[in-house]
């Protein structure tokens, strides 16, 4: 699959603040790619540079094989974006907005089709200032699709939405992928990234600190799997330490907690040891690390 977005060594400085310190990643055709990171990590600046709202100080951006920094107008024809802190006039209606924004492009999606697709038919002729947060966000998405874009950029698409609206938006984003669109979204919500993204890059302090499929990220992560064990009689630490791939053994309430990379191997051995000593198990929990653990591990310590 061809890379649709290639970002290399993007740098951007605002006065004395280095917002981006060499961001590089690629997004493949037809995938949903997430830029994940805490607030202020540089996600929004990255997207703004890619869609041409900001001029990066250094670095290259290639979209659909076109040098975006050299030919921004050509690129804009083919991409769509819904960014934060972007709004519309109070008295504009969704129908007018879709029509007028569509008119800026050579290729153009049908207004009615977009209104239907983004569930805005009922509010098609209502003023913008009467729309709910979810409806406004759906309109922003509809505007990102007025030119039948090949890549769509969504900056924190679900922030500020309630759980219901968020779920609706998730299925809409998954549908974009099904329709063959490449999606790049930013989020600080790990659950969202795990649910939606084929691949993600974790950004922190203006750098990509890790990237890959969420599962790979979790597997790569030092967090691995955590195991909690409570037994009738305390287990000798030495027995645990001797298990393959076990680290970070620590007392945790009535039992002990440790991380392990090879869960099956370690637990098989552990069971044998416990059985031979006749120690009864009261509790045993095996917990896979979440992307959130990965994110905290990768960004939390440094911030």
């Amino acid at each position: 699959m061809a890379a649709r977005v290639i970002v290399r060594d993007l740098r951007k400085r605002y006065g004395s603040v280095e917002a981006l310190r060499g961001v590089s990643f690629e997004v493949n055709e037809g995938e949903i790619f997430g830029l994940l990171g805490p607030n202020g990590a540089g996600k929004t600046t990255t997207v703004e540079c890619i869609v041409g709202l900001r001029e990066p100080d250094e670095g290259s951006i290639e979209l659909l094989g076109i040098d975006a920094r050299r030919k921004p107008a050509e690129v804009r024809e083919k991409i769509g974006a819904a960014l934060q802190t972007t709004s519309l006039q109070d008295k504009i209606t969704p129908r007018e907005a879709i029509q007028v924004f569509g008119a800026f492009y050579r290729e153009r999606a049908g207004t009615q089709a977009l209104l239907e697709r983004f569930a805005l038919t009922e509010k098609a002729d209502a003023a913008f200032d009467t729309l709910s947060g979810g409806q406004r966000q759906r309109l922003a998405l509809a505007l990102a699709f007025v030119n039948n874009p090949q890549i769509v950029f969504l900056d924190e698409p679900t922030s500020g939405l309630d759980a219901h609206a968020r779920r609706e938006l998730h299925s809409e984003i998954l549908r974009m992928k099904k329709d063959g669109c490449t999606v790049l979204l930013t989020t600080h919500n790990v659950e969202e990234a795990e649910r939606l993204c084929d691949r993600a890059a974790i950004i922190d302090h203006g750098r990509v600190v890790a990237s890959g499929a969420p599962r790979e990220l979790i597997a790569q992560s030092a967090s691995a799997t955590s195991v909690f064990l409570a037994t009738a009689v305390p287990v000798d630490r030495a027995i645990l330490a001797a298990l393959p791939g076990v680290e970070d053994i620590a007392e945790d309430g009535p039992g002990v907690r440790f991380r392990v990379s090879d869960v099956t191997g370690a637990l098989a051995q552990l069971m044998g040891e416990l059985a031979s000593r006749g120690i009864a198990i009261n509790e045993l929990h095996v917990q896979k690390a979440s992307l959130e653990d990965v994110l905290i591990e990768m960004t939390g310590g440094a911030s």
């Binding site: 504009i92 007018e96 800026f104």
Partner: protein, 480 residues
């Protein structure tokens, strides 16, 4: 580009959905028109001599306050940020905003002209020239508006910046107060503001010679507009958080330089001296103030008083009976009399019936006047003086249109009561002796259903002289 056309139409539609915008864009100019009409109500043709000022106010308000408010509020909301993600160029969108406003200005201007014509103003003399002047003035002020839009961080600062341009221009820039009536120092200041050039080029198309002599005005307006649009376009910020860089500030200097160059050039070439924009035969166009405001002194001595050396040719009479026509003709400067259509001592032209609401009051005056005790005092000089207090006080009090009809009633009565030859001499005597006599009559006007005199008797006495001369002129055939 199709997109820009649709965006243009949409911007207009959105404008007409915004009540506040409509208020400032259309109602405000209409209110200004009414205000000028009332202010200059004694002029024979309503607002004819002030249309240039009115149109300038309209353009100034729409271009320097209305347009930047729209642009900055859209920028604050992130609309410009959204536009910037489309293939449309920001410059083209700025141009679209300016053109949207231009169309609004044109319609507001037409509305103002239509309203003015509805209250009696004739069609401007040079309508085609007026369109050109209107466009050039709009160009200048839209340029300024764009600079304001680029400089202002938010909507309140648009108001602050806009008013910094709007108010001085109105007051000392020759827009609300005509430049000819400004004090000298203010006329020099006005040279540095585009307002006066706007007013003079527009007014010349309404009742002057058209654009024939508007070359410098146009040059000034064009320069201000061009630097404004250029600087505004360069300094334009499409995002609320964008900083104002030093390079951008450099453009501000360019705008200021254009203003300075125009002002200095105008000062150096004497264009700053008030040039009459219209036929100057009308009254000094000092705006009327409220009734209690101090009155304007007459522009020149109307009569050579005994102290005036140049009048020595014909000796002044010692008593009123000795007054001769020769002395009158030698000493009275008829041309310096304020016109009947002017701001003070107005007299309604013959044959025009008073408005219905004044009929009763005038009838009451006509009935009571022959019975007024002060009209029968024995001293004929005092008697004439008493009569003349009636129009003089009414004029000083500015009792609406009444003041231009009262003199006619009083003149009639005087001519009925006093033989013409005597009346001529008495009027001249009263006019040349303004400081003499008893002014009790000024505070007995309530007996005639009128208001009594204000405390400022000097002004009243001066008006007595003026009305005396106006009647004198009529009697001697000097005023028709």
């Amino acid at each position: 580009m199709n997109g820009l056309a649709e965006q243009y139409v949409l911007s207009l539609r959105l404008y007409f959905r915004n009540k506040m915008g409509m208020f400032y864009g259309y109602l405000f100019p209409a209110i200004f028109l009414l205000a000028f009409w009332v202010l200059y109500r004694s002029e024979p043709v309503p607002v004819w001599r002030h249309l240039g000022q009115l149109l300038t106010v309209t353009i100034l308000g729409g271009a320097c306050l209305g347009m930047p408010t729209t642009i900055v509020s859209e920028r604050e909301r992130g609309v410009w940020r959204r536009y910037r993600m489309t293939p449309a160029s920001t410059r083209a969108l700025i141009a679209s905003s300016v053109l949207v406003r231009f169309l609004i200005l044109i319609t507001a201007g037409l509305l103002q002209i239509a309203l003015a014509m509805a209250i009696g103003m004739p069609l401007p003399k040079h309508p085609f020239d007026l369109c050109i002047a209107f466009t050039v003035v709009s160009f200048a002020f839209l340029g300024l508006g764009l600079v304001i839009a680029s400089m202002a961080d938010n909507v309140p600062s648009v108001q602050a910046l806009g008013q910094c341009i709007f108010l001085p221009m109105l007051i000392v820039g020759g827009v609300a107060v005509p430049v000819e009536t400004l004090p000298d120092w203010a006329q020099h200041i006005a040279s540095f503001f585009p307002g006066r050039y706007a007013v003079s080029s527009l007014q010349a198309c309404v009742n002057g010679i058209g654009l024939g002599k508007s070359g410098f005005d146009f040059l000034a307006l064009f320069l201000i507009g061009a630097t404004g649009l250029l600087a505004g376009g360069r300094m334009f910020r499409w995002e609320a958080g964008q900083r104002f860089s030093a390079r951008r500030k450099g453009w501000l200097t360019a705008v200021a330089a254009a203003w300075a160059v125009i002002g200095i050039f105008a000062e150096a070439h004497g264009s700053a001296a008030a040039k009459p924009v219209a036929a100057p035969r009308n009254a000094p166009p000092t705006p009327r103030r409220i009734a209690t405001a101090p009155e304007i002194p007459p522009p020149a001595p109307l009569v050579s008083t005994p102290q005036a050396p140049e009048a020595a040719a014909i000796p002044h009479a010692k008593t009123w009976k000795e007054v001769t026509l020769a002395e009158i003709n030698a000493n009275v400067h008829w041309r310096d009399l304020p016109p009947d259509t002017g701001f003070y001592s107005p007299i309604s032209p013959p044959g025009i019936p008073p408005p219905d609401d004044l009929k009763d009051q005038l009838d009451q005056l006509r009935t009571n006047l022959p019975l007024w005790p002060l009209g029968y005092v024995t001293d004929p000089v005092q008697r004439v003086r008493n009569f003349l207090y009636i129009p003089a006080v009414t004029d000083v009090l500015r009792t609406e249109i009444l003041e231009s009809y009262v003199p006619l009633v009083v003149f009639d009565q005087l001519q009925k009561d006093i033989p013409k030859d005597d009346l001529v001499k008495l009027l001249y005597w009263v006019a040349t002796h303004p400081a003499e006599g008893d002014d009790t009559a000024a505070s007995r006007l309530d007996q005639l259903g009128l208001e009594n005199a204000p405390p400022d008797m000097d002004t009243v006495r001066e008006r007595v002289s003026t009305y005396a001369l106006k009647l004198l002129g009529r009697l001697t055939g000097k005023i028709r």
